[in-house]
Amino acid sequence: MSSNIKMKNINFVKAYKRNDKASIYSKASFKVAVSLLIFSLIFASTYAYIGYRNLQTKKELAVYNEYINNDKNKKLLEQALNDEIENNTLFSQKKNMLVAQEALESVHFFTKSDIKEFFACGGSSVTISNIIYNNELLTISFDAAAGSVNAISDYLDRLKKTDLFGNIEYFGYEKETELNYTFNLTCHLKAVNER
C-alpha cells in the first residue's frame, strides 16, 4: 500500500519531459559530433591519399635518381659529352676541309691536255699573243692573227669543238695586211662540274 502511495507521488509527466529534453540534447550533440568527425575524416583521408601519392612519387623518383646517380652511368655520360664535343669540333673541321676541297676543285683550270688542245686549235694558221687568263672569272682572252678570214672561222670552229669553253666572244677582225687579219677572243671556260 505504501509503495502505491509513493508511486502516486512521482510526477511522471515532469520526469518524462525532463528525460525527453535530455535525450534531445544528447541526440543533437551526437549529430554534431558525428558530423564534425565525418568532416575531419574527409580531411584526414584526403591528407592520407596525398601522403600516399607522395610516397609513390618518392619511390618512382628514387628509381630515376638511382639510374642518374649511378657512378658507371655518370662516367659514361661524361665520356659521351666529351665525345659529342669532339665530334662537333671534328665535324666543323671536316666541313672546312670540304669547303677548301670544293674551292680547289670547283673552278676549272687548264690541265696539260687542255693546254695542248687549246694551242693545237691554232695550228700553223693562227698565232696567239697577249694572253690574259683568269681562273676566278673562268676566262682566257687573247689577241690572235690569221692569214685569212676563213682561217679565223675555221679556228673558231675548232675552239668550239673542244669541250673546254662554254662561250666564245668574237667581235670581228681587222685587216692589217693582205695575209694578216688580227682579232680578239674572250673564251669562257667551263667549270669542272659542267664538263
Binding site: 596525398i50 607522395n54 635518381n65 639510374y67 665530334n87 672546312n96 683550270f109 683568269n134
Partner: protein, 191 residues
C-alpha cells in the same frame, strides 16, 4: 555559468567546422600538396634527365664510330693540301717551281692568307683546323713552251694552282709573264 543559447551553439558548430577546415587545409593538405607538386617537378626533371642520359649513352658507340670516321676523312682531305708554311717557305716553293720550268722570277710578292671556312659555321667559335689560301704574284721571263709546261705541271698538283696569268708578245718570243698562284695549306693549330 549560464547555459549556451541555441544560436550560440550553432555559431560554435560553424566555428568548429571552419577551424577544422582551415587548420586541415593550412597545416596538412596544403603543405602536403606543395610537397607533392615539388616531387612531381623533381620527377619530371629526373625523367627528362634519364631520357637524355640514356639517349646519350645509347649513342655513345655511334658517336665514337663517327669520331674515328671523321678523323679518317679529315686526314684523307688534309693530305691533299700542303702542310702549313711560313711565307719564306711559300716563296721557296714557288721559286723552285718556276726555276724548274726555266722561268726564274723577276719579282714575287705574297699576300696575306685567307682562311677557307664553311660560312654555315659559327665564326666566333675557335676553329683550329682549316685550310688557307695564299696568293702569290710573280713576274717571270720565259717562252710560251715553258708556260705551257708550267700550267700543265701545276694542274697535276693538288694544292697549288695558277689563278691568273698575262703575257705580252707572241708565242715565238722570249716574253714577260705575270703569273698569279694560289697555294692551299692545311693548318692544324691543335698540334
Amino acid at each position: 555559468m549560464r547555459n549556451l543559447t541555441k544560436r550560440e551553439k550553432v555559431l560554435l558548430y560553424i566555428l568548429s567546422l571552419v577551424i577544422i577546415f582551415s587548420s586541415s587545409m593550412y597545416f596538412l593538405i596544403m603543405p602536403s600538396m606543395q610537397n607533392l607538386d615539388n616531387l612531381r617537378i623533381e620527377l619530371d626533371e629526373a625523367k627528362l634527365n634519364k631520357l637524355d642520359m640514356s639517349a646519350k649513352l645509347n649513342n655513345l658507340e655511334y658517336i665514337q664510330d663517327r669520331i674515328i670516321k671523321t678523323k679518317e676523312e679529315i686526314n684523307s682531305h688534309s693530305s691533299k693540301f700542303y702542310p702549313y708554311m711560313e711565307n719564306n717557305e711559300i716563296e721557296n716553293l714557288i721559286t723552285d717551281i718556276l726555276i724548274e720550268h726555266n722561268m726564274p722570277p723577276r719579282s714575287l710578292s705574297i699576300d696575306d692568307s685567307i682562311k677557307l671556312l664553311d660560312p654555315s659555321l659559327d665564326q666566333s667559335q675557335t676553329i683550329a683546323v682549316y685550310v688557307t689560301k695564299t696568293y702569290v704574284s710573280t713576274s717571270v721571263q720565259g717562252s710560251f713552251e715553258d708556260l705551257k709546261n708550267l700550267i700543265g705541271d701545276i694542274a697535276e698538283l693538288d694544292s697549288i694552282r695558277i689563278s691568273a696569268f698575262t703575257t705580252e708578245g707572241n708565242m715565238e718570243e722570249l716574253i714577260t709573264f705575270s703569273i698569279d698562284f694560289e697555294v692551299f695549306t692545311y693548318v692544324d693549330e691543335e698540334e
